[in-house]
């Protein structure tokens, strides 16, 4: 049984191919301006990497903000459904799932059966999403990876006044002018964003175990800041966090395929 999950995000498209429930391949491509084209090429790469052909694919499920832009799917699901499915399957003890992407963030609470109980999302403001940290690292001319790592070296707590990403950029520049070290600025930026994401998590309700997925979960500085702000025992980073949505979508595809075959 070969099924595919495609997560069409604002910045990247993630594709996961499952063969009999196991990940056969995964591929990420930039979304660019032509999402359909990008998704097709991502799918082609993933299919090739899995060593199968297009004809072998039995079911495709899309998720993500651009899921409606791609026509070659059997079904579409919300990010909340895909994230919950993916995270619960990877970690059955999870009750709160946090997904922070480039332009959006979500917090989802699930019950002991993996069913979604409540969720909160931010898709309106860059300040609570990956775009915030990205803009700051760009202003400081540091790579995103380095920006996350270096903040771990800081023990200072510098509150940022600006909430808005655009205003925060100027604030970061003035911090440089006042000779604040890069590591302290990096920590201030991650703390600020963690504050906003944590407010969103509390709207959905916080219950341990807590796990995080999405591209921003790869940022060690942010994960540490969020763990401290949430004040939880541990914030678990899901394996291959940026593929969470695509993986969940692929699992849903497998379920739907079984359902369809049962009916037939």
């Amino acid at each position: 049984m070969i099924v595919v999950g495609i997560d069409v995000g604002s910045k990247n498209i993630h594709v996961v191919v499952l063969r009999d429930g196991e990940v056969a391949s995964r591929v990420a491509v930039p979304s660019g301006f032509e999402q359909e084209e990008a998704a097709r090429s991502g799918l082609a790469d993933a299919v090739a990497a899995a060593g199968v052909t297009h004809g072998d694919i039995e079911y495709v499920v899309a998720t993500g903000v651009g899921r409606k832009a791609i026509p070659f799917v059997q079904h579409r699901v919300t990010e909340v459904a895909a994230d919950a499915k993916g995270a619960f399957s990877l970690m059955p003890a999870v009750r709160t799932i946090i997904d922070v992407g480039a332009d959006e963030a979500r917090a989802i609470r699930v019950d002991a059966g993996g069913k979604v109980v409540d969720f909160a999302a931010n898709e309106k403001c860059a300040a609570g999403a990956g775009a915030f940290v990205e803009a700051m690292s760009r202003a400081l001319e540091v790579s995103l990876t380095r920006f996350g790592e270096i903040s771990l070296e800081s023990t200072e707590t510098i509150p940022m006044n600006a909430q808005c990403t655009v205003f925060a950029e100027s604030e970061v520049v003035s911090l440089i002018h006042s000779n604040t070290s890069l590591k302290d600025i990096a920590k201030a930026v991650h703390d600020a964003m963690a504050g906003r994401v944590s407010a969103m998590v509390r709207r959905a309700g916080l219950e341990e175990a807590v796990a995080i997925g999405g591209g921003v979960a790869c940022n060690v500085g942010f994960v540490k800041a969020l763990e401290e702000t949430l004040d939880v025992r541990e914030l678990h980073v899901l394996p291959d966090p940026e593929y969470l949505g695509a993986y969940g979508a692929a699992l849903i595809a497998a379920d739907l395929l079984v359902e369809r075959e049962d009916r037939a």
Binding site: S10, F33, D103, A126, A127, A131, C164, T165, V166
Partner: protein
């Protein structure tokens, strides 16, 4: 060869001086200085009448910006700041105006300045500054009755417009007029986040939209955002707009359409500039405070 990087996002600096006033004959000289986040203004009054003003860029620190604005207004007049009998500072950097006798909030100053510029009929003022946006309700004396502001989010402030000017490489002065050079009004881009509006604008350009059409969608989004702020406090005529965006007809006209109220326009030959309203209000406060002091002095 060095090539100077063109700055699209700032309004040009401006200096104005009244003809035929000899300041040495004046009974009083009062000054208002508005140190904003992006631009700073100084207004000089002689006997309560406009003598000179200067609008300049805010530098990295407030005291220097205040000195620069005052220096611009007084340049070549022979007057120095020591000749001023009363100075009021306002704006974001008001507490750091070195020679100020007093600091007054920009809300009060904008209301006062708008009352002077557009007449005592003004009841609602929209001030669209570099990093904030305020709606102020006032009485016939220019006294503030109520206000509401957004200083948390760049969308709906001058900063949001600067971002698009820079992204598209269109001088800020030209955005308004160009946003009407379109066949049909497009749907607005995101009105909640400047970061997202910017990426949307870039995507629309890639999709083949003309720059003018993107500007229209952007001006329209900004107008929407500002109107949501206006709606929270209500608009009563006369309605007047101050700050840099008052000079952007693309946003102004779209706001007027949405709220169904036209803003009072300064006469074409007017020397005033909607960007100086805060400094002008500060200078008027300085004049009133000076007279009060003089009266108290005379009585004692």
């Amino acid at each position: 060869m060095t090539e100077e990087k063109h700055e699209f996002w700032r309004w040009s600096e401006r200096i104005w001086r009244a003809d035929g006033i000899d300041w040495k004959e004046a009974g009083s000289i009062t000054v208002g200085v508005d140190v904003g986040s992006v631009s700073s203004q100084a207004v000089v009054l002689t006997d309560g009448r406009l003598f000179a003003f200067c609008s300049t860029r805010t530098g990295s620190n407030s005291p220097d910006s205040a000195i620069k604005a005052v220096g611009g207004a007084l340049q070549g007049t022979g007057m120095t700041i020591e000749d001023a009998q009363y100075v009021v500072g306002t704006g974001y950097g008001r507490v750091n105006v070195p020679f100020a006798n007093r600091a007054i909030t920009e809300i009060a100053c904008h209301a006062r300045g708008a009352n002077f510029m557009a007449g005592s009929g003004v009841r609602t003022i929209l001030d669209m500054g570099g990093q904030d946006c305020k709606v102020i309700r006032c009485d016939d004396k220019g006294k503030v009755l109520n206000f509401i502001m957004n200083d948390k989010c760049a969308a709906g402030t001058g900063r949001g417009m600067e971002v698009i000017a820079d992204t598209l490489g269109v001088p800020i002065e030209d955005i308004g007029a160009r946003s009407f050079e379109i066949d049909e009004e497009p749907a607005p881009v995101s009105n909640v986040c400047t970061v997202f509006a910017k990426s949307e604008a870039t995507a629309l350009l890639k999709a083949g939209w003309s720059v003018n059409r993107v500007l229209a969608a952007y001006c329209s989004a900004m107008a929407e955002r500002v109107v949501s702020l206006i709606d929270r406090i209500g608009v009563e005529k006369d309605f007047f707009i101050t700050g840099g965006i008052a000079k952007n007809v693309g946003v102004v006209r779209r706001i007027e359409r949405k709220i169904g109220v036209e803003a009072v326009k300064l006469p074409a030959k007017s020397n005033l500039d909607p960007q100086i309203a805060g400094a002008l209000g500060a200078a008027l406060f300085a004049y009133a405070l000076l007279r009060k002091e003089q009266k108290a002095g005379a009585a004692a």
